[in-house]
Symmetry: none
Subunit: 501 residues, 3 copies
């Protein structure tokens, strides 16, 4: 059997994990909001119209932040349409997804629901069709205590205390020609700077995310970030990254290497941030918000131009397989490994739309395969990320060249002493033995091994078989003289936990 190896030593620490690394995303798109989180009349609906069965799964995931309300949606959105008495809210055209928007959920309802889920909202303002004025009004509406037009309107609308939304996105994917009100880098840089200034004048405590590139292959990638950060460096806290991965044709080997691509993407954006920092003689660091990421079978999407106008259409409800779950797990490893600079990440999206949770109107809700690595990493991936320097076999991919068969990271909970190793085996046919050198932590006990894999890597969970794919407890962890060996099944995501004696 092939062997890979890594060393756990708390002396080699990357950074404390920011819990917001395990955020998610609720866009007014398809059925994420309507018949996703919100469905008055559903058997499980609460008084506000939100589904109880979906809420239960969301609480199990417990995303610390939820980005809202888009996405492409936000670039044509008038937030005022979503406040006040529900019956007088307009039915509008969402040009991003060619959908009718009923505006039955808006900033007030969403923020309250998110808090009930244990989540903080991460609110995006519209820098497509709108600008400074609409943005500063929304901050006033959401965060100002009272005594002014918009804050008093919030109070009249039933929310006496300010929402206190701490984290804001300055638009969405403004580098993409598909975006309503798409901007050049120079245009966006100026608009983001002036909007940031005005928003901070309303509430200086907020944190701001500037739009980076929509994906790494954008022709303006890198130049966009540099232009935007040169103009906004002192005004923003984060720059965003978006990345979606899919298997192209039969090339599963490349798809399994998605995390290698994400590593390079993140490292490139870090370099750009630090380039601007150096050139501008800045002290502060701008960090990264990977605020849209997932597996997305974009190749199967007809494109928004080909949609007919309808309400809450079934859009990109990708059904995820075991392989997709392993890739999601490996992308989480990549995010953890960059915990020193990536402080925020959002699995896009939360329900139905390329989501870990699926629901049917008037029907059940269930966990997709990807739910499991995401939930387990979120729950156990808290503490300090350690450098583990894995060694081992490699394989060749057409996309990313030579990549390691095993990818792994480790998180050390300094309070409890627990160490959790997250590892993927990208070999599609053979198990790999992973040797973990734990000599620097002699008090750790042999750990428990949870793995996600299946004889059928294309297996999925469905309404009929919601638990077809779930994690398995394995018992093949062996300890010898400070080294623990675990056998990682072929094409698997793994979590190994070692507790303090």
């Amino acid at each position: 059997m092939q062997h890979a190896a890594l060393t756990i030593d708390p002396a080699f620490r990357i950074a404390e994990v920011d819990p917001r690394l395990f955020g998610s995303f609720v866009e007014h798109m398809g059925r994420c909001v309507y018949t996703g989180i919100f469905e008055p009349g559903h058997a499980t609906a609460d008084d506000e119209g939100f589904r109880g069965d979906v809420a239960e799964l969301v609480r199990e995931l417990a995303p610390p932040i939820l980005r809202y309300p888009g996405g492409n949606f936000v670039s044509g959105y008038n937030w005022e349409d979503g406040i006040g008495p529900r019956e007088s809210r307009p039915r509008t055209l969402d040009l991003a997804w060619r959908s009718y928007e009923t505006n039955q959920v808006g900033v007030d309802e969403f923020t309250k629901w998110a808090r009930r889920m244990g989540s903080e909202p991460m609110m995006a303002v519209n820098l497509g069709t709108r600008g400074i004025d609409a943005a500063r009004n929304l901050v006033e509406y959401a965060n100002h205590p009272g005594g002014s037009y918009w804050s008093d309107l919030r109070r009249r609308n039933g929310t006496s205390e300010p929402h206190g939304i701490a984290l804001w996105c300055l638009g969405n994917e403004m580098d993409g020609p598909w975006q309503l009100g798409h901007k050049t880098a120079a245009e966006y840089a100026r608009l983001a700077a002036e909007t940031a200034r005005a928003m901070r004048r309303v509430d200086p405590s907020i944190e701001l995310v500037a739009c980076g590139s929509s994906h790494q292959r954008m022709p303006t990638f890198g130049d966009w970030e540099a232009t935007v950060l040169r103009e906004t460096y002192d005004l923003v806290d984060y720059v965003s990254l978006h990345g979606y991965y899919e298997q192209r044709g039969d090339d599963r080997g490349s798809f399994l290497a998605s995390g290698v691509n994400m590593d390079r993407f993140i490292e490139s954006v870090i370099a750009t941030c630090d380039h601007v920092r150096g050139a501008g003689q800045h002290r502060k660091r701008v960090n990264l918000a990977f605020d849209e990421w997932n597996v997305w079978y974009l190749g199967k999407f007809a494109g928004e131009e080909n949609l007919d106008w309808s309400e809450r259409p079934r859009l990109i409800e990708d059904q995820y397989s075991v392989v997709d779950a392993v890739v999601v797990g490996s992308l989480l490893i990549s995010l953890l490994r960059h915990a020193d600079r990536v402080k925020i990440a959002c699995l896009a999206q939360l329900v139905n739309v390329i989501a870990p949770i699926r629901s049917e109107p008037d029907g059940p809700a269930w966990r997709q395969t990807t739910f499991h690595p995401y939930a387990l990493t979120s729950r156990h991936g808290r503490g300090s990320v350690l450098r583990v320097e894995p060694t081992g076999p490699t394989y060749e991919t057409s996309w990313m060249g030579e990549v390691p068969v095993v990818d792994a990271t480790a998180v050390h909970d300094e309070e409890t002493g627990t160490v959790t190793v997250f590892a993927v085996n990208r070999d599609q046919h053979e198990p790999v033995a992973l040797d973990i050198d734990l000599r620097s932590l002699p008090n750790l006990t042999t750990g428990e091994h949870t793995a996600l894999f299946d004889d059928d890597p294309d297996a999925t969970n469905t309404a009929a078989q919601p638990d077809r794919v779930t994690p398995t407890r394995l018992a093949d962890v062996k300890a010898t003289e400070g080294t623990i060996t675990a056998v990682l099944p072929a094409l698997s995501w793994n979590m190994l936990r070692f507790d303090s004696r």
Copy 2:
């Protein structure tokens, strides 16, 4: 007598005439709308307040499209002011023409009236003081069937079916410093692109016209078009041209050569379109919309800065002479000759304001001299334009150098077989014999000859003498062995029709 010659051969075809070449233009300016097409209380007014006498003349012209509502007016216009109950519409300041605008006619009234005239509206959006949002809302109001805020508002305002406006102008003369919200080429290019994208998201079936130069002598002419088209090539269908002609001092010879100038202007814009096409490796062609053209005695206009605030003032109500009508006829020849690339043209404007139709408040309506060549060319200039390669005498002008005395084009109606030759004789004193080689169409009979000319080339039509100048039927067409000879009177516009036997 001098001779000119041309050859008719259907094998040498330029293109099918797009009927929209014979469009006109209704701007909220002076008395074009108010006391022009619209005058409640006029003896001939219909239930909607539109004048019946003017409507009769408009139907006689039958312009296939009518550009609306401006012109310079549109760059400060809020279209929402012109919808809903008339009594609650605001009285606003039109900053373009220093006029009070009562908003008694708006998009709903105009569109319905245009349709009653047999015309399609060509609607301009405001890219001076406004942008993407107002534009997409107007498209939604006009063209979306219903079920959304703006489309439902249209329905509530009394128009249940969508207006289905097919053709839209992305602003007006945005290169001109006189324009409210004037833009640089780069600014306009970006705004036009993003507005186009949003408008197409609402209704993908619409056609769009990007602003070209306000006239050929603009310092940015050519570069403006290139910059705008590089940014918008795939998003627009047409680029606009505007051109006004007048006699300067006594130089009638140059004025009569206006069509030569129009030819060069059109050919230069075609070159710019095709340059951008080549450099961008595009397959599609962008065509031309000459959406403002006419004779206009600009030299006599005091300038909009010198106007006093008033309602429906008498603005540039130029009274046209026989010479002006001959020039209008020759400009139509130039447009027809470029039918392969000029698909849209608008005689500016329709009533009172440099217009073929004049009307007096509470008084009569009548045809100016220019009405006649415009009406006749529009009625008979349908079918395929043929290359005719005229040869003949020339004369020297200070403006355009050496120009042909006779200019001509021919249109072949392939269904009926009729050929119509349009020709001007620019010689101010002598008739010219025009030899037409028709040997390739041996079945044509000797045609009828209609001409516009007068012993007094400065004669005009007035309320008192509305038919002082009208076309004349001539009988001096002679046929010999496949060649037909017609004598074109001095300083005349001519139409020669040859029917199939």
Copy 3:
């Protein structure tokens, strides 16, 4: 049998053919000069060392102009190395083609030889490694009568009368990164302008060609020309185009459509010239010099980086087939059709290097297949090109979309009355009947039909079989009521001549 049709009518004339449309090109490259036109010691060599057998074939082609001395070669060339006593000329490194250059032929020898061939030199100056000074000195050496340093040096070198070289190229392919001293568009525009100004100061009568793009797929195509022409419009007479065509894989249908591509290329460059003309309010027109064109199996060329240093190496001595000759014939049709704007064209090159003439050292010289359409079009394609508006069947290509099976043009010799039709049949398997409507010229007699085709379309001419492929006289031209029908063999180039009775 399928039919195509066209109409001949001298009333519809494109332009007089400039004889320089049939030029060729002699570069110091491979064996074009040495053992090509020049080989002292060859059995047929004259006193100057030039081969008599090659000269005989050149005189048969009679190219009115010969571009010289490069090509890529010129961008590293010091013209002074090629003058004065031959024995003291240096042996230099030609970095363009990794060859030893003996400099035994230079400006004096070449110019005299060209004149003996009946050709005018079209001289290129080096704007790669050199600039204004070397260029103005060469003009002084070549064209100044005497009494100055460089002109007196020419006289001392044996040429008392000035060479009077009328046509000059401002460098070669300066947009290509492969070019020594390659320039950006802005750099070249400035250098070309200043060099042009200095050269014209020496001899105001010369005509100048600015470098356009090296081919249509250059990433800077279109923008390059616009930038260069904006800076040089009043200083130059022509802008250059280069285009090489080859069959890719088995796709012969696309290869046969090369002329369609050449049409679009030419029309795009015309558009750019006229765009700059319009934007700059220029009266003059800049015309086109297609000063390198041919079939070239570039895919088979190893690339100049892979050559070993040697003297007169065998470089790109492509052996042309019947298909290649048909494509060369069709490219000549495309050039003729644009005779209003393309005034100069050079088949690249004249001998051995992708050339219509081949020669062996100490051996024979012979005509390649492509020699024939080139020689016949040059001899008979003089007069006025007529519009012929061919109609007929089309076929689908992967490269150029839908293209006509038959392409054709016609030239009218107004002195003799002769009309010559040039036509290709691109159908690889079936003949096509071409109906020619000659009713407008009733005095023409039924013509003679010369065609190039072969049962084996891959057949070539070689030293052993120099006349394997030659044109054939056909006798299947039939006349009925002013229409003449000729059957064009499958995959053929054709010339049909109609003489005045």
